[in-house]
Amino acid sequence: MPKVEIQEQGFYGLDASTDMIAESGFAILLSDPAMVVSYHAEGKENAISLPAGTLKKDDFFRLSKLTRNIKIDGLSGVIDELDAELPMAEAGRFLTEQGLRVEVREDGSVDESGDDPQAPVYIDFLDYYVRGLTYKLIRQPETKRSKKFVEMVAEFLSKTRQYDHPH
């Protein structure tokens, strides 16, 4: 089980999660290092959390060598009350832009159609991002914000891998 150390560089818990990420084929990304400890205690040893500081290219390289599938747990919303991106949303966007398959767990939803009726439901990060922004607009409609959010999504979409060499 990883120790909680604020000074740890890169994704928190990645060293302890390496084997399980390789075995399961995906990493669970959490916002809080303390949550990583409890996830590992529950046997979900492929859980990691965001770096203490900024997400660096080397951190991304290390993670992408292990897996290209990231499942984010515990993300609630995309932006804060000042319309700034939440750190986890920013990380999810960054990882998606780099070509990783990022999904977000939907709180309170389970997949009843699958083998495990208690299996959580994950949705595509881009869909989650758009939904998060449009939800904010529905609650607080404003033309200026609407324009900003549309531009945020447009920029995000343009940076995803499919737009690198459009036909």
């Binding site: 290219k57 992408s64 290209r68 780099q98 070509g99 990783l100 398959r101 881009l126 758009v130 939904r131 449009t134 607009l137 609407s146 959010f149 549309v150 531009e151 999504v153 447009a154 920029e155 979409l157 343009s158 940076k159 995803t160 891998r161 499919q162 737009y163 690198d164 060499h165 459009p166 036909h167």
Partner: protein
């Protein structure tokens, strides 16, 4: 040279891009054309960046690829910033 973008990452095909663009536009209450208009400059910027990143120089039969985000060590950055300042008339 450190290659930042691995080539092997999965790419979605144009059909999926089209559907995604349409879906997103609808969620914002826009037509696909209106959203595409917002999207276009961002895509053009990415295309230009991609072209620049693929530019390379061949010297003595050796191919050199330069990272446009980082100037080589031998470049006198002081000289360039001085040139830019004088052109922009920055004191």
């Amino acid at each position: 040279m450190l290659k930042w973008w691995p080539n092997s990452f999965q790419k979605l095909d144009n059909t999926i891009i089209h559907i995604k663009t349409n879906e997103i536009a609808k969620k914002f209450g826009l037509t696909q054309g209106a959203f595409s208009k917002v999207l276009r400059p961002y895509v053009e910027k990415r295309k230009n960046l991609a072209v620049q990143q693929h530019e390379h120089v061949v010297i003595d039969d050796q191919q050199f690829v330069f990272d446009i985000a980082h100037l080589p060590e031998y470049v006198d950055q002081g000289f360039f910033s001085g040139m830019v300042s004088s052109r922009l008339r920055i004191p």
